[in-house]
């Protein structure tokens, strides 16, 4: 196996008696496409927050590229190459699409902290390239507040990529996207260079199995299984915890089925 980029060891997050994330250990090798799946409340989003640093761990260590980053604040982790898209779009609504991506890109392409507004050619070129990649080039000057839900998701991905991440965490990037948008996203993610390691939380299993080289199944805050997509598909425990209940609910035609609660 190649070098490990992200290593979680014994990572836990407790809210009082509730163990949202309980003693999770995962190693993600550099260049991997790692999917994190599990039913609602399995702790996937919480785990992401522990990796990005927006939430402190209760126990355990997070290691990035051989360095212990458990105690680092969020912005310093971001500077070390951790980038994310959030489950619920979090953008700068009053600004244009282009300016949103520029905020992320200008940190990478700064020309000696120039005070002159126009001296940002490199960053602007990068922004234009990213907008073409995610399919928003025609919307560059639109205020974000006027974008559709799917377009905002695409913009999230562009912003995350503009940080030039080593580790890209995608929290349900395809949620709310049309099938066309979703397959475009899969294409974009597949085309990312191996220098970007991908960890993705997704409910759309088509997206997961199209992308992932390895899969971790979380259940009630614990790792149920880590393995190749085929192993995961074949596992009886996973069927029971996740795929099983989902299908069952689907056939029972129950209004509050797990398939419906995508958040």
């Amino acid at each position: 196996m190649s070098t490990t980029l992200l290593s979680l060891s014994g990572v836990s997050r407790h809210y009082g008696a509730l163990r949202a994330v309980d003693d999770v250990s995962i190693d993600v090798p550099a260049g991997a496409r790692h999917a994190l799946i599990g039913p609602n409340g399995a702790g996937k989003s919480t785990l992401f927050k522990l990796v990005t640093g927006s939430m402190p761990v209760s126990a355990g260590t997070v290691t990035l590229d051989g360095t212990d980053i458990t105690q680092l604040p969020e912005h310093q982790r971001a500077r070390r190459g951790v980038s994310q898209t959030l489950q619920h779009s979090s953008l700068f609504l009053s600004q244009s699409v282009q300016d949103n991506v520029l905020l992320a890109a200008q940190r990478q392409h700064r020309s000696r902290r120039s005070l002159l507004p126009r001296r940002q050619a490199a960053a602007r070129d990068r922004v234009r390239g990213l907008l073409v990649d995610v399919g928003l080039e025609a919307r560059a000057d639109t205020p974000v507040a006027a974008l559709s839900h799917g377009e905002r998701r695409q913009l999230e991905v562009a912003i995350a990529l503009a940080c030039e991440p080593k580790l890209l965490l995608l929290d349900e990037p395809a949620a709310g996207m049309s099938p066309a948008e979703s397959s475009r996203l899969v294409g974009l993610l597949q085309s990312l260079p191996a220098s970007v390691t991908l960890v993705i939380v997704e409910h759309d299993l088509d997206v997961v199995f199209a992308l992932a080289t390895s899969v971790t199944v979380l259940h009630l805050g614990q790792v149920l299984l880590t393995g190749s997509p085929d192993e995961v598909r074949a596992s009886a425990a996973v069927q029971e915890a996740y795929l099983g209940t989902g299908r069952e609910a689907l056939f029972l035609d129950h209004p509050g089925s797990t398939q419906m609660e995508v958040s």
Binding site: A78, S94, L103, P117, D141, A146, C163
Partner: protein
């Protein structure tokens, strides 16, 4: 009272339209012309004002310019960074006292007092902002209020240095090349030159990548953190820059009126200047200039004619403005037909 600007107010700032990137030649030249020519005309008009205006008018215009610079420096905090401060006069006062003391005890040769005023204003912001910027919302408001009162009290009690409640008087007039500027017209030109440079500096800061970062923090601080920015560092720097420019305005004020009172650093001044920013339209930079003009005119020019009811009139103007112009005077620009971008956001 919502002092934080509504979305998209910054889109109509002075010369603010870099969103098309390196635009094709003709449109950029046209934009430069539509924006630049009125600005140039305004500058020429302002510069020629003392040639046909009475000395009193020149003095009023000087006051307006000074308070406009002060208001724009506060707009960097309120409108661009999203930090409404109730103690910004502290830095104005520190600058005014610095310039006054430098002029009295050392030299009043042209740029020295105002430059030192700006430097000491920034230093005061360095000392106090470190704490203030760690808080947000109402707590930031309260902390800045406390800082303002602290400076006000210091100005009152250190009477051997500041002249106490009598004020610091006997400030010599500014000298350029050894010649003291005594005529109101010359002082006005001096104020105009420094203020225009100050506006230019603030405009550059607001348009720079640094300014974009501040707007990002205003709109979505957690997201900026996840993009690798330390909001504290940027807010602190914005606070210091705003303090420096407020100090510069204070230095000009000392050169103009040649007496500095503790109240110039106090709550009333802070509140008035915040009023000017809100009245003009926070986040636009040029709106607060108009706001400051209205505040100065109502308080100093029309006020005396109303048997001291100037503040009352100011209050009425403010209430009406908040109802009629929720985005300040700058909000009116969004209504001008021909502006492409609707300021409404979602249509």
């Amino acid at each position: 009272m919502s002092v934080v600007p509504d979305s998209s107010t910054d889109a109509s700032g002075v010369g603010a339209d870099p969103r098309t990137g390196p635009a094709p030649g003709p449109s950029r030249a046209a934009r430069l012309a539509t924006r630049g020519i009125p600005l140039l005309v305004l500058l020429v008009l302002l510069a020629s004002a003392p040639l046909f205006a009475a000395p009193f008018t020149a003095n009023t215009l000087s006051r307006i310019l000074i308070f406009a610079l002060f208001a724009v420096s506060l707009d960097l905090l309120v409108g661009i960074t999203g930090l409404p401060s109730l103690g910004h006069a502290a830095y104005f006062g520190v600058g005014a006292y610095t310039a006054g003391l430098v002029s009295i005890h050392w030299t009043s040769a042209a740029p020295v007092p105002v430059l030192l005023a700006a430097a000491v204003g920034a230093l005061a912001a360095v000392a106090t902002g470190w704490l203030a910027v760690r808080s947000g919302g109402v707590y930031f408001l309260m902390l800045t209020l406390a800082i303002g009162e602290l400076v006000h009290q210091l100005a009152q009690s250190l009477s051997s240095v500041t002249g106490g409640s009598n004020g610091l008087f006997g400030i010599p007039s500014v000298r350029i090349g050894g010649e003291p500027l005594t005529l109101a017209g010359y002082v006005y030109w001096y104020v105009l030159a420094v203020a225009v440079l100050g506006f230019l500096g603030l405009w550059l800061v607001a348009r720079s990548p640094f300014g974009a970062t501040l707007r990002g923090i205003r709109d979505n601080e957690p997201r900026m953190r996840s993009l690798g920015y330390s909001p504290f560092r940027y807010k602190y720097l914005a606070f210091v820059v705003a303090g420096g420019f407020a100090g510069l305005a204070g230095g000009l004020f000392a050169a103009l009126v040649r007496i500095v009172n503790p109240s110039d650093a106090g709550f009333t001044t802070s509140a008035l200047i915040l009023l000017a920013v809100v009245l003009g339209g926070a986040g636009t930079l040029w709106g607060p200039v108009l706001g400051a003009a209205v505040v100065v005119l109502v308080r100093d020019t029309f006020g005396p004619q109303l048997d001291g009811h100037g503040p009352l009139l100011l209050g009425v103007v403010f209430v009406v403005a908040v109802y009629v112009l929720p985005r300040g005077f700058a909000g009116l620009a969004g209504l001008v037909p021909g502006r492409r971008r609707s300021t409404g956001g979602t249509a």
